[in-house]
Each structure stands twice: as structure tokens, then as C-alpha cells.
Symmetry: C2
Subunit: 325 residues, 2 copies
């Protein structure tokens, strides 16, 4: 299948690398809003201006849209789904129904398949919530995130007066994880599930106590959490906190038996060195499924819930049954 990449940040770069390595995948090009000459790709993929994309309509089997969920994807996915089969990683959970409806209309109008909200959450974590709740209907779901970098929280710290740079880690609380794994089905507050660790580079002479207070009292981002603030040098930040790791846990604790006497724990976890590269790898697997579904005559907007797992693999159904079942 021929794929193209729309948008070239960390995620687009990850898609380029993953798709280039895939045996059944050819990367036609990267489409960018910037001047194509200014973009250096990781695998020497050609770069085009996004305004030219309609010219390549016949050459692209699946277009992987690598934009942000706040302002890019709500416009891009519906606009592009009319002319292309698309995949995106739209991750604003509350707005998924709206995004689905808009993209579905466009995909049906143009006769294409669109798959939205692929990645790990939404994405693989969602799949695990679904599988586990379908198997153990009598139970409770727990999702923990981290340890990992939250870009949004890091940005929020950087906007504080006197802050030069910052990195924020979301950390799951081990004792809460242990209670869930022990089948105790605890009711956990926001504060009991995650803590927030901040590494902050302050301007010389800045009022550190004020910065720390402003971070810890910031509504929504930090006020509901136990937050620790560490002031470090730019050098230390660059040396020790440059990566974009993430991960987390989806745990379902449920019971079976006439009186619910048997407990079961299903746990899915991710430990990722690179959040965008892992997300990109998920996008490429789902692009493969979109291509197969389109060739079978399916149309409209889909999510990870609608994709038969065998469509994600380059192996044939026969090979899959022989080697993985």
C-alpha cells in the first residue's frame, strides 16, 4: 500500500520511520504547511506542500494525518476524508462523537474509509477497556497513565513568569495500583491515582517559592494532585529529561461464579521510550487495516473498535492461525 503523511512533527516523523520499515508499505511523501525545502525527513522521503495534495489523489492508498487534536484534526480529517482514506490520532476523548460524525459524513460523501482516534489512549487502551469489560461485565475498570511526559503540563509550567524551560512527569501511585491488582476494587480520587513531578529551569534571580506555588495551585493541571517541583539547570534538563517516554496501565478487576466468588485481574501495560514513535507505529498498523477494509468495499468512519485484528497484520489469515493463535 502507498501511504502519505500529512504534517511533519514528531508524530509524522515516527510514521515515516515505521512505514518505511514495513514490508508492505511504500511512503509516497510528506505533505507540510511549511516550505518543502525547509523540511529534512528522517528517511529521505520526498516533501510536498500540503496545498498540492489533491494532485496525488490517485496515488495515495491511505493518508495518515499527523496534526494536533486541538485545532488541526477537527478541520483536517473531515476535509481530507472526502478525497482520501485517512487515519488520525484524534485524542480529545470528550469530542470524539462530534469528530466521528463530521468525518463519517465526509468519508461517505467521498466513498472512503476514515479511521479516527488511533494511538494508545485513545487506541490500544480503549481496545483493552472494551475487551476486558466484554469478558468480565461484573467488574471495574482502572486506567493509570505514566510514568511519562505530559506535553500539556510541561507547556503550562513554561507559561509561568520566570520559567525558562520545564518538563512534567505524570506518575501513577504504586499503592493505588497495588490495591487494584489485589482485586480490592477501590474508589480512587484524582489525587490518589497520580502524582505530578516537575523539573523546572528558572530565570536567574527568579522567585522560586512563587513559581512553585503558582505551579502547585494551578487549577485543573496541578491543584488536584500531589505535585513536587524540582528546580534544575538547563543542562541537567537537557541531559536527563530530553526524551518523551510514556506509558500506563489498563486494569480490569472482575468476578465470576454464582455468587461472584472467583476474582480475575486483566492487566495491559505499556512502557514506551518514545510516545510519538509508538503512536506512529499504531497509526501505520491501522492504515494497513483501512486499506484492506476499503478494498473489501467498506466505507465511512471507523474506530479501533471496528477493525478485525487480522486486518492489522501483513500476514495472511492462514499464517496468523498457524503462528499466533
Amino acid at each position: 500500500m502507498k501511504i502519505a503523511i500529512y504534517g511533519y512533527g514528531n508524530l509524522g516523523r515516527g510514521v515515516e520511520i515505521a512505514a518505511t520499515a514495513a514490508p508492505d508499505c511504500e511512503v509516497l511523501g510528506v505533505f507540510t504547511r511549511r516550505s518543502p525545502d525547509s523540511v529534512k525527513t528522517a528517511c529521505n522521503t520526498r516533501v510536498f506542500h500540503c496545498n498540492d495534495i489533491e494532485k496525488y489523489k490517485e496515488d495515495i492508498d491511505v493518508l495518515i494525518i499527523c496534526g494536533g487534536s486541538a485545532t488541526d484534526l477537527p478541520k483536517m480529517s473531515p476535509a481530507l476524508a472526502e478525497s482520501f482514506n485517512i487515519v488520525d490520532s484524534f485524542d480529545t476523548h470528550a469530542d470524539i462523537p462530534t469528530h466521528f460524525a463530521a468525518t463519517d459524513t465526509a468519508a461517505r460523501t467521498g466513498g472512503h474509509v476514515a479511521l479516527i482516534s488511533a494511538g494508545w489512549d485513545p487506541g490500544m487502551f480503549s481496545l483493552n477497556r472494551l475487551y476486558a469489560s466484554a469478558i468480565l461485565p461484573n467488574g471495574s475498570d482502572y486506567t493509570f497513565w505514566g510514568k511519562g511526559v505530559s506535553q500539556g503540563h510541561s507547556d503550562a509550567i513554561r507559561r509561568i513568569d520566570g520559567v525558562l524551560d520545564a518538563r512534567q512527569y505524570t506518575v501513577p501511585v504504586e499503592t493505588a495500583l497495588d490495591k487494584v491488582r489485589a482485586g480490592e476494587n477501590p474508589t480512587l480520587s484524582t489525587r490518589e491515582k497520580h502524582t505530578r513531578e516537575c523539573y523546572v529551569v528558572a530565570e536567574k534571580g527568579a522567585d522560586l517559592a512563587r513559581i512553585e506555588r503558582e505551579i502547585k495551585e494551578m487549577p485543573k493541571y496541578f491543584a488536584d494532585y500531589d505535585t513536587t517541583v524540582n528546580f534544575i539547570t538547563q543542562q541537567e534538563l537537557d541531559e536527563k529529561h530530553k526524551g518523551i517516554p510514556h506509558g500506563g496501565f489498563v486494569i480490569r478487576s472482575g468476578s465470576t461464579g454464582v455468587n461472584g466468588e472467583n476474582k480475575h485481574i486483566i492487566e495491559y501495560s505499556l512502557k514506551l521510550d518514545s510516545n510519538p514513535e509508538f503512536t506512529a507505529s499504531v497509526l501505520v498498523a491501522f492504515a494497513r487495516a483501512v486499506d484492506k477494509m476499503y478494498r473489501r468495499g467498506e466505507r465511512g468512519c471507523k474506530t479501533v473498535f471496528d477493525v478485525a485484528p487480522s486486518d492489522l497484520s501483513p500476514l495472511t489469515p492462514d499464517e496468523l492461525r498457524r503462528t499466533m493463535l
Copy 2:
């Protein structure tokens, strides 16, 4: 949907309990080879003789076959798939292609949907091997089983002269698990992955040293493993080792990046108080999918790889997107 259960051992009983609890499921009855009067069901489900099943052809949406993989299912599933939509838990991995082909022919002849090899391995573990390898093609798969009771190994011990009763636990080796989780991609021998713990009740005056030796030297079952043998009383066995717990881990360790510089660990684990009741819960979820697929016009034999996850849930696609994505 109306389901029926064919075979009533631990698994059939688990299916009865899970299906009775499901909001969208009605259990028409249990079909048994025994005299129906002799079978007492857990939820007061009616019991019929298996010879009468064809009479209920029009009343059963999905028949869940709860027989053994060694001799029952290879005959039962192809025989019944001609007249019924069926689900089974055939778990002899090496024979899946043969079982698939026979069941597929029967299901297509009769115009039905058959789903084979549902459960946790094959089943949920297989799904996790597939998802993880599709996402991280550059990586290695590891499956560990336990800690849990192996019925086959327990039976093998019970056949030894002088043994009255026995229970065998398969135990994953923690240090091996740790190496895999650390992304070391170790090459592990059979002995390095699992140990075997045996609890044995011997006849009074039996030669314990001989029994222990016979266990530890038994080819295939124990010879390739580090095995510990504990002689205990029947009372202790009944008190402490009566359950049928099981579980295990599917771990994929893979890398991404231009030079594979970023490592990722995907881990799926199960901790089950009751192996048959959990397997039964998986069968009921896949029976729901079979019913939906049949109503959409699909025919033939399927596996867990062919089922879109949304078909497993009693929730609508809309509800799933709103609550779980």
C-alpha cells in the same frame, strides 16, 4: 440472543453462569451425553439429552460447545456447525489449521458462522500476540503461563503407581520475566521460562523417592523443567489446592526509530481464580459476536482474529465511542 450449551463440565457450568448473568442473553438449555435427570445445573437451566439437539435448531442462535480438545471438539464442532452457529475453545495449537478447515467446510455447507479456539490461550493471549506484533514488527514475543494449575500435568502424576492424588502448578520464572520486561530480548530455554511445582498425596508406605524420581524424569511433562515435589496429605490438598487458578503473561519487547534506538514494552497479563469460568466468559462474549456476524450475513469459520471488538460488547457502537474510546 438465545444460546445453548453442549457439554456440562466445569466449562459448561461457567458458560451457564456467565450467559445467565448477561443482559442480552437467554440460556435455552444444556445438552449432555449423560442422563438429563442426573445433571443438576448451577442456575436451574433445563437439561436435554444431546441426541435431541436437532429438534431445537430453530430456537438456538448460538451453540457453545464445551467439550475437550483431544477427542470431543474435532468431531463435535464440524458436526454441529452445519446446523448451528457455534463457538468452541479448541486449544491444541498445532491442530488449529485442521480443525479450522473441517469446521469451515461444515459451517459453509450449512450457512452458519463458527468461531473456534476462543478462550485465553488460544484466545486473548493470541489477540495480544497479534496486536503487539502488528504494532512493533521489530521485536520479540514472550508468552509465560502461570502461576496456575495444569490439569494435564496433574493427571500425569496421578497415573504414577502409589499416587492417590496430585496437583501441579506451572510457575513462570521471575528472573526471566524481569529480563524480558527490561527489554533485554533474552533467548530462553524451556527450563529458563517455567518451573513445575507438584503437590502429591501418596499411598501409605509408598516409595516416595521413586515417585519423586518418576515425576522428575517424565519426558515432555517434567524432564525439561526444574521440578519440585511436595508430599502432602489428602486433607491439605483439599484445603489448599482445590481451586483451578491460572493466568500468565504475553510480553512484546520491540524498538522503533531510525536505528531502533527507542524501546517499548507491551505487556498483557491475566490472574485468574478460575480458569474454566474465565474461559467461559470469553466464550459468551464471542458468542455475542457470532450472533451479530451471522445476522449481518457472514458465514464460515472464524477465529478471534476475525472479530471486530465492538461485536463483543452489548453496548452500541455509539455508546462504546462515548464511554470507552
